[in-house]
Amino acid sequence: MSSYVRARVNSIAIHTNDLKSLTLRLDYNLTVAPGQFVMVWLPDYEEIPISPSHSSHNYMRLTIKAVGETSRALINMNVGDELYIRGPYGRGFNLEREGKYLLIGGGYGAAPIIYAARRLTLMEREILYVEGVKMRGESLFYDEAKNIGIDAVLVTEDGSSGIKGMVTDYVANIIDDYDILLACGPEPMLDKLYLMALEHGIDAQLSYERIVKCGIGLCGSCVIEGTGLLVCMDGPVFTVEELRNSSYEVAEHA
C-alpha cells in the first residue's frame, strides 16, 4: 500500500445529473491497469474504491455515479479542487489472451471497460464494445468508442437509442462469436454473464464489487460471501473458473 498522491480536478464531463467523469491531474505518476482500482479520499468525506475509465502517467479519469455522500461530493467537485488517491490495487483484466474480445459495460461499470477497450485497440486486438443502459442519454462511452474507431453497440432497455432490450439478452445472441468476455456492471448482469459463460464454455473475466474499506486485504470487508475471495486482492476482476472453483453462488436475481 502506498501513501496518497494528491490530484486536482482538471476537467469534468457531465453524463447525467448523477454521473460524471472527472479528469484528474496527479502530483505524481500513478498508472492503473484496466480493471484495477484506486482508493479515492475526499477529506471530510470517506475514501471509496473507483476503477478508472482512463489512466496514463499523471492523468486519470474517474467516472462516478452518486449513490451516497462521498460519491455525491465527488461529482459535485469543481475544476481545481483537490482529492487524494492511493493505489493501484487489485488485479485488472488480463488482456494478454489471444482471441476475439467481447466487452460489456453496464452503467458506470462501463468505466473500466472503455479503458480496457482502448488498451486492446492499441494492442490491435479484435473487439466489440457493448454498453447497456436504461435509456438514451445515459450512455457513457458509446460515442467515445465510436469516435476512436472501436466497434461498438449501444443497448437501451427502453429502445430509445441503439438496440432495445437487456444487454445480457443481446450478448446471449452473439457470445459464441467471441473467445473472451470482459464485463463490469450491476451484479445481476454479471451473474447472468457468469452463468452464460459457464454454459457456453467461454473464457470470461468479470469485475465484481463489494464494500472495499482497506483495499489491501486486511479487513475482510470485501469478501465475496462464502468464497473466501477478496475483491481488493483477488479481484476485482475474477475469471469464471476462479469463481466456480471457490464455490461462488449467484444470488436469486440471476
Partner: protein
Amino acid sequence: MPRLKINVAGLELSNPTVLASGILGDEASLLRRAAYSGFGAVTTKSFTIEPRKGYKTPIVAKVKAGLINAVGLTNPGYIAIKDIVKNAKVPGVPIVVSLAGSSVDEFHRMAVYADEAGADAVELNLSCPHVKKMGMEIGHDPIYVAKIVGDIKGSITKPLFIKIGLSDNYMDVVGRALDKGADGVTAINTVRGIAIDVYAKRPILSNIYGGLSGPAIHPIATRIIYEIYAEYRASIIGTGGVEDWRDAVEFILAGASAIGIGTSITIRGLGIAKEVVEGIKRYMDNEGFKKLEDMIGYVHKT
C-alpha cells in the same frame, strides 16, 4: 525433521503460526481459507455484544515502519459466533474466538456463548487502542482484568487467553490474570499512533487515532514477551510485526509458544504462514533444535 507441533496452554497446534485477530475479519470462508493456507490456528475478529459497523474510511494508513488501522471493531455481534465457528471449522486448525466487552458481564456472556458455540479457545481483547470503553481502557486496569478473568474462568471449558497491549502496567495485568486462571497471553495488540497526510494536512484515519502494527512494534513485542516469560513462564502467543521466520524465531527464543501474524499478510499474502513454518524448520535443523519446546524461551537459559 524437527517437531513443530505445540500445545499452547491446552490448545493443540500443528504448527505455531496463528492468524491474528481482526485480520480478514469474521467471515467463515475467509477464516477457512486462512486455515487451509497453513496457519496452525485462526483467530476471529473481536466480537462485541451488539453488531458494530466500524469507523468510516479511511480505516488504514501506511507508514514507513508498518500500518495504522482503526477499523473500529466491525463485527456482526456475538450471536453470529455460532454460525461462523461452525462454518469456519477446518479439521486440525483450532479457532480462537476473540471478544471485546465493556464490562465483566459482557465478557462473561460472550465467553460462555463462544465456548458453547465450539470455539477452541477464547481470547479477551483487553487492548484495542482505538475504541472507547473497550479494550485498552479496560486492559489498563489490573484489578478489573482479574475480575473479568476470574468470572469467566470457571464457566468455560476451553483455554482462556488474554490479549494485552503496551501499557505501563501490563506485567501487573498479566500476573493477576494468570493468578485468576488465564491459560495464556497474546502479546501484543497494536500501539496507538497517528498518521498525517502532509498535502491533505490532516490525520488520515477518520478516527484520527489508530493502532500501529507491523515491523515498528516487533522490538516492543519482543520485550513484552521476554518480560512475561521471564517473570511468569506463561504460554504466550507472540504477535507484532512478524514478517518472516527470523522475526518468529526471535519471539520463540524470547518465550513465545506460538506466533500471531497480521499485517504482513497484506504484503506476503496468506502464504506467509507456510513460509514462516518452513523457515523455522530450516532454522531448527541447522541449529539442532529437535522440537519447538526446546526453543521456547531459550534466551533465558543461557
